[in-house]
């Protein structure tokens, strides 16, 4: 019987150098799995693999040494245990995320919630080449947003309120961008220098700084054969609907302008960043 290796690969079965063995890629969203899913994975790895798993560079889990003959049984047993197989090939890949504001004191946005929404909307969607989304909660950028075809970074648009402020001096010292200065009766805020890190909001002992959570998007990041960080072409967005209008438009742009097997970055470079930025701005404004 002829084996359709491409279909296997598309479904997350990665061919190994060992004949008729596959490293099975599992679906993970935002780097989170439940203990029950881990137990399922452990059981499958013991029963069908070699009792090991591989943690991938993009928060994925692979079970190596699955035999060709066991593929269907493994899929069924995984599914029964609440674990889905991943994808490979020219489509939207695993959506990665840091822990975000639900867990991390530095987080400005709910990264995992957003990763789930992005994954539900796009995961597995066919495109000219692979397409990676990554969501990071703040300027510390633990999730490396700019490495992704479309990176989302959380930030705060900040505003100072005079009334609760005691001029304690913490925010001026904590701002890494030199955007704040203290006078005798207030704080001067140079908005042009602000990078939306939100450290003033997070550190203010008197809640004199208000922060509105927002998304900073970067496009065309690639860190494989070609290395280039994603670029921001829009101001910080505060509304999730606008974010999805823009990501819809970015994928449409990729579909329209890319040759087969060409990464998003290359397609934007050829079509022109100005043209790309215009389309993103149009989508942003709705």
């Amino acid at each position: 019987m002829e084996v359709d290796y491409k279909a296997l690969k598309d479904g997350g079965f990665m061919r190994q150098i060992q004949k008729d063995h596959f490293s099975l890629r599992l679906k993970v969203v935002g780097g989170n799995l439940t203990a029950e899913q881990f137990e399922t994975i452990a059981a499958i790895s013991r029963k069908y693999g070699k009792g090991t798993v591989h943690l991938t560079s993009r928060q994925g889990v692979e079970i190596p040494f699955i035999k060709l003959a066991d593929v269907e049984a493994v899929k069924a047993e995984l599914l029964a245990g609440g674990v889905h197989t991943g994808v490979c090939g020219p489509r939207v890949r695993t959506v990665t995320a840091c822990q975000g504001s639900a867990i991390c004191p530095s987080g400005c946005i709910d990264t995992h919630g957003l990763a789930v929404e992005i994954s539900e909307r796009y995961f597995g969607r066919q495109l000219p080449h692979k397409f990676k989304f990554g969501v990071t909660g703040c300027m510390n950028n633990c999730l490396k947003a700019e490495e992704n075809d479309l990176g989302v970074k959380g930030g705060y648009t900040v505003a100072w309120r005079k009334e609760p402020c005691t001029l304690c001096g913490v925010c001026v010292k904590i701002c890494r961008e030199g955007a704040l200065a203290q006078t005798e009766d207030g704080i001067l805020f140079d908005e042009g220098k602000c990078n939306y890190c939100g450290r003033c909001v997070k550190s203010c002992p008197f809640d004199a700084w208000e922060g509105e959570p927002g998304y900073i998007l970067s496009f065309g990041g690639t860190f494989g054969n070609q290395i280039a960080p994603g670029k921001a072409v829009l101001p910080i967005l505060h509304d999730k609907e606008a974010l999805f209008r823009v990501s819809d438009a970015a994928l449409a742009f990729f579909d329209k302008h890319a040759n087969a097997s060409e990464r998003f970055r290359v397609a934007i470079d050829r079509a022109g960043w100005d043209a790309f930025a215009r389309e993103m701005e149009e989508a942003y404004h709705g």
């Binding site: 304690c168 904590i174 997070k202 002992p205």
Partner: protein, 81 residues
């Protein structure tokens, strides 16, 4: 400006992160609720991180002042139970 009287002082300029915060936290634990601690700390990482960590623990920061030798004094009121 908030009025306060310092009850205790701790010098954390002799340690580095994350021991800076640990030392400040231990000093706070020895105080009663509502008492005021003055933390003497270095410029750089300590002054960038310790005030925020103190806030995250729920204590009330009263004042941060810069000294001429590049160190800082952070005045904290221990959170009431």
């Amino acid at each position: 400006m908030v009025d306060f009287q310092v009850d205790e002082t701790v010098d954390i300029t002799d340690v580095v992160c994350p021991i800076t915060f640990v030392k400040a936290k231990v000093a706070l634990e020895e105080l009663d609720d509502g008492q005021v601690l003055l933390i003497h700390l270095n410029d750089g990482e300590p002054v960038q991180n310790v005030p925020r960590s103190i806030k995250e623990e729920g204590h009330q920061i009263l004042k941060l002042t810069g000294n001429e030798d590049g160190t800082y004094d952070l005045v904290v009121r221990k959170a009431g139970g």
